[in-house]
Amino acid sequence: MIRLSEIHKTYPARRGSPAHVALRGINLDVAAGEIVGVIGRSGAGKSTLIRCINLLEVPTSGAVIVNGVDVTALSKRDLPLFRRQLGMVFQHFNLLSSRTVYDNIALPLELAGASKADIAAAVDPLLPLVGLEDKRDRYPAELSGGQKQRVGIARALSSNPKVVLCDEVTSALDPETTRQILSLLRDINKRLGLTMVVITHEMAVVKQLCDRVAVMDGGQIVEEGSVDAIFSDPKHATTQSLLADEFLDFRPAHPVSNPVEGA
């Protein structure tokens, strides 16, 4: 479904800050219907990676293949059409404060020029799916963080995408709300057969939501595998330290000989 091949991304130098290499040769395959997690510490390049998939960031080199098409070659005119096939959910929700819940969810369809009737047909069933039937005509300012993220998820689904990209979607939420949002995402993945790429810095999110996981450090994927395999036998020091942070009883079965400093 998605194939990233040899993606490099360098942010050019700006006044006062030198050029920064954020991605150094990323290769990642995501099969249809799969939930792949990308985990790493702050600054590892996770957001840059996911933003390369819908070309919010243009890779410096490498190919982004979605559904067999190299989307880095798309023209300015075709890019919006491609993006409409992907949904994206954000850490800080990014809802329009001037629109009601319903109108926020309708926005992707409006942008695509859908008729009022088609919009209603798409949005109405999404409200109960994300548990917001009673908030239809409320504004984001009247919602809790968890409810806002449900709107964000419904909005990402409204144009009926095949792929949903999630960048730290639970990082602004408390643990109980996080669990609810993760199980909602899991449920949606099963029901709609969606492919998902999930960025996080928490192993608990990977454990609850993902089928596979890629661990990032310094702009590279340092370890990749099924969630079970990574949890039972983490090989890389970064993976081990991420696990040790959250699961206090974690002890690596095969300690690496040269752990990164501070790990």
Binding site: M88, S97, S98, R99, L107, L111, A141, E142
Partner: protein
């Protein structure tokens, strides 16, 4: 006495309202796109155009730094070209509009820049084309700020319109100068001042009300 003053005052108020409304409407139709473009033409932004930033920005600033009364006199040839005369209420609309355009452009620019960049990005991720980002995200989200700014513009224009009144454009300023000052009628002067105060109050209050209605960020 009031009976003779009332119709003159009413007539002058209408002229002032006409000048201000016309300058506001024409000024917005030029100032709004200009302001949006000023806010979105920077490096890496929606309509990146560094030439525009480097040329129009300074022109806008230059126009804004000329005192209005100087501007009104300086562009008399242009005014004549547009309306055929440089005196009268309609002629006054030209300098008022010329002053309003950069004022409104900067206000719109500021309001649009206030919009969270995350929203622009979200819209682009949904497949919004650049113009859709403007019409569906930037303008609706900036609306409360835009209404505040246009209210401020209207109040400023009421003040400016009294100044062009002094150079023969009609309206409340003209009335105040010709009757109140030159014919020494303090009653007329008083009535003009009170009418101006009431006008400004009404504009400010309704602007605030509209802006609050449009603002859904604190409900």
């Amino acid at each position: 006495m009031f009976a003779t003053l009332a119709p003159i005052l009413f007539q002058a108020t209408l002229e002032t309202l006409y000048m201000v409304a016309a300058a506001l409407v024409i000024g917005t139709s030029f100032g709004l796109p200009l302001g949006v473009f000023l806010a979105t033409s920077g490096r890496g932004e929606l309509f990146e155009s560094l030439i525009f930033q480097k040329t129009i920005g300074p022109i806008v600033n230059a126009t804004r730094s000329v005192p209005f009364i100087i501007l009104a006199v300086a562009i008399i040839p242009f005014t004549r070209m547009v309306v055929g005369t440089s005196i009268g209420t309609s002629a006054a609309i030209v300098p008022l509009t010329v002053a309003a355009i950069p004022f409104i452009a900067r206000i719109i620019e500021g309001a649009v820049r206030e919009v969270d960049g995350g929203l622009v990005e979200a819209a682009q991720a949904m497949g919004a084309r650049p113009m859709q980002v403007v019409t569906k995200v930037l303008l609706p989200e900036a609306l409360p700020g835009i209404i505040h700014g246009l209210t401020l513009t209207a109040v400023t224009l009421i003040g400016y319109s009294a100044m062009v009144g002094a150079v023969g454009a009609g309206g409340l300023g003209d009335l105040g100068i010709r009757y109140g000052y030159q014919r020494f009628r303090p009653d007329v002067m008083g009535a003009v001042v009170i009418t101006l105060i009431v006008l400004v109050q009404m504009v400010q209050t309704s602007g605030d009300l509209l802006a609050r209605k449009a603002d859904k960020r604190n409900i």
